[in-house]
């Protein structure tokens, strides 16, 4: 696979703050790369540097094997961007907004009409074409924002937290739309601090914190970085101290926490922990409502790497 984006030793500083610190990574053709990190970790700054909206102190950025410059218009034709902020004209209808932004790339009117209709269908805004942006809900507005960014059918798409403050229905529509774009051949760079979205969507993930690359790889590869193997949560009431101590002493238990409602047990390695725990609870006749097992999440990886939660 050829590199669609190649970022090498990128450093961006704002006076005394180093927003991006010696960041290097590549994006391969046809993949969805997730940039995961808490707010202020440098995700948007990195994208803005790649798009030449921000100047940077060090490093190089190459897109489609060419150096990215503000005047690289041929290269920009292949790029689509969906920013975190909704970027539409309040004075234009849904259709006219998409048509305007598509017109910045596509001059042929017939072709543009087709592209606009395709974009509207992709984000499922067929019934809202004549609506003005202020008449749309937050979720529909986000979908319009996406349609404006991808209507010209770019080969490379940057999506900067496109689902912030979006209702679940719109979120699902947006995520489905992104998968569809990828299936049609688009390479996607997706930034988010929602790890669930990143896990669902991304082929590879880069974890950023304070402008530094902490880890990179597929979700499975990253999860191996966590020092835990399994998390079991049990909804249980009034578990006494003696039982807690007994569970703590069970094999391969790394740690245990109990908040009076949910008992959470973390296992470092091994398997069949759920069966062993359920056998113990049954034997001791301890009643419980729900019990479930989880693999470590990207949040656990982030916690392991930084000592803090992704949403801190």
């Amino acid at each position: 696979m050829s590199h669609v984006i190649e970022v090498t030793h990128l450093t961006k500083e704002y006076k005394k703050l180093r927003a991006v610190d010696d960041l290097s990574f590549t994006v391969e053709k046809g993949e969805i790369l997730g940039l995961l990190g808490p707010n202020g970790s440098g995700k948007s700054t990195t994208i803005n540097c790649i798009l030449t909206l921000l100047s940077y102190q060090n490093g190089s950025i190459r897109i489609f094997n060419e150096e990215m410059r503000p005047s690289a218009y041929d290269m920009k034709r292949k790029i689509g961007v969906v920013f975190q902020e909704v970027a539409v004209f309040e004075e234009l209808s849904v259709y006219d907004n998409i048509n305007y932004f598509c017109g910045l790339y596509i001059k042929d009117r017939k072709l543009r009409k087709q592209y606009v209709e395709d974009a509207i269908a992709l984000v499922e805004l067929q019934n809202f074409q004549k609506f003005m942006p202020k008449q749309l809900s937050g979720g529909l507005l986000r979908r319009l924002n996406i349609a404006c960014g991808i209507a010209h059918k770019p080969e490379l798409i940057f999506l900067d937290e496109p689902t912030v403050a979006v209702d679940p229905q719109s979120r699902n529509a947006i995520l489905e739309g992104i998968k569809e774009l990828n299936r049609c051949g688009a390479t996607i760079v997706y930034t988010s601090h929602y790890m669930e979205e990143v896990e669902i969507l991304c082929d590879r993930v880069i974890i950023l914190d304070q402008g530094k690359l902490l880890a990179a790889g597929t979700c499975d590869e990253l999860k191996k970085l966590a020092s835990i193997e399994e998390k079991i949560s049990v909804e249980i009431r009034d578990l006494d101290e003696a039982h807690r101590l007994c569970i703590q002493e069970m094999e391969q238990v790394e740690s245990l926490s109990y908040d009076g409602q949910v008992l959470q047990i973390i296992y470092k390695q091994g398997q069949d922990h759920l069966i062993a725990l359920m056998s113990y609870l049954q034997k001791e006749q301890i009643p419980y409502h729900r019990i479930y097992s989880e693999r470590p999440t990207l949040n656990d990886v982030f916690l392991e790497l930084t000592g803090k939660e992704l949403r801190d």
Binding site: Y14, N48, L51, T52, L53, L54, S55, P70, S71, Y73, D74, K76, R77, I79, V81, F83, E85, V86, A87, V88, F89, E90, E91, F101, L104, Y105, C148, G149
Partner: protein, 305 residues
């Protein structure tokens, strides 16, 4: 009317307006260089003033010719020769000064109307394009920046020209007689050139200011300020010299000054056209400067930090 009473009566009834009594030895005293006084009685009205003026002119001329005349008879002959000379005068234009004053007053006011209108409308439009997210989306698009800038300027020029057309139409209604003459064409051309400058200035401000709320303040400062400084409301003749010197730095001054020049034109010859073209050229130079500045500012702001 040989008696004093009859004279007084005739004057009272305005049968006559002016009576000159030439005293004895007047001619000899006059020829000797003394200043003999004539005895005058008049009605002190317009006709009397006219007679007084003609008498003074006659005596002044006689006084001047006295030096080259040997005798009284020669002086009379010289006077007749001088006053018999005629000059043919042909009126080349029929100046409608009242109409021209009205037209100049209207077009001087158009300075404010064009500036305020262009700045308000164009800044309002550009503020939509200057919203940070929209601007970012435009900057990362494949639209060539110079081309985008040019298209934005040209599309806004349609608005400016429509505004100018509206004001010209109003002038045709208000002072149609003047507007359908050479003077009118000069006013229209001058205002068109100024419209281009107002467009360029509005475009520059639109590139600088993104806050819609600041717009009213800017219109007041620029449109109203330059109109006052450059004599759109108060005639330039009444303004202090130092204010006019400062006003030279503003395009409104050259526009308004050209309007005032047009008002005073007697005949449209090459010298007049040259002077008007110089004024319009200065306004166009301002327009060019504003466009270049707007382009440079837009180019500099291609990066968000």
């Amino acid at each position: 009317m040989d008696t004093e009473a009859k004279q007084e009566e005739a004057l009272f009834y305005r049968q006559i307006h002016y009576i000159i009594t030439i005293p004895e030895h007047f001619h000899s005293d006059f020829m000797d260089g003394e200043k003999p006084q004539l005895v005058v009685k008049s009605t002190n009205d317009y006709e009397a003033s006219l007679a007084q003026m003609q008498l003074e002119r006659y005596l002044n001329a006689a006084n001047a010719l006295r030096f080259i005349s040997e005798s009284e008879a020669e002086l009379v002959a010289n006077m007749e020769a001088v006053f018999s000379e005629t000059t043919e005068v042909t009126m080349t234009s029929k100046l409608d000064t009242a109409g021209l004053n009205k037209a100049a007053f209207y077009y001087n006011f158009v300075n404010y109307a064009l500036l305020a209108g262009c700045i308000y409308v164009i800044c309002l439009i550009l503020s939509s394009f200057q919203q940070e997210p929209v601007r970012k989306r435009t900057l990362i698009s494949s639209m060539n920046f110079a081309k985008y800038h040019r298209q934005l300027l040209l599309s806004n020029s349609l608005l400016a020209i429509a505004l100018w057309g509206f004001y010209v139409l109003i002038s045709l209604i208000l002072v149609g007689d003047v507007m359908f003459s050479e003077y009118g064409r000069a006013y229209i051309l001058n205002s068109f050139v100024f419209t281009l400058c107002a467009l360029a200035l509005a475009f520059l401000i639109g590139n600088l200011v993104t806050n819609k709320n600041a717009m009213n303040g800017i219109i007041n400062v620029i449109a109203l300020g330059s109109s006052f400084l450059c004599g759109a409301f108060v005639p330039m003749e009444y303004m202090p010299d130092f204010v006019l010197r400062i006003a030279h730095l503003l395009p409104s001054y050259w526009f308004i000054h050209a309007n005032n020049l047009i008002k005073g034109i007697k005949t449209f010859d090459s010298a007049v056209y040259r002077e008007l073209l110089i004024h319009m050229g200065v306004v166009l130079a301002f327009a060019l400067l504003f466009v270049v500045l707007a382009y440079l500012i837009g180019r500099k702001r291609r990066k968000i930090a």
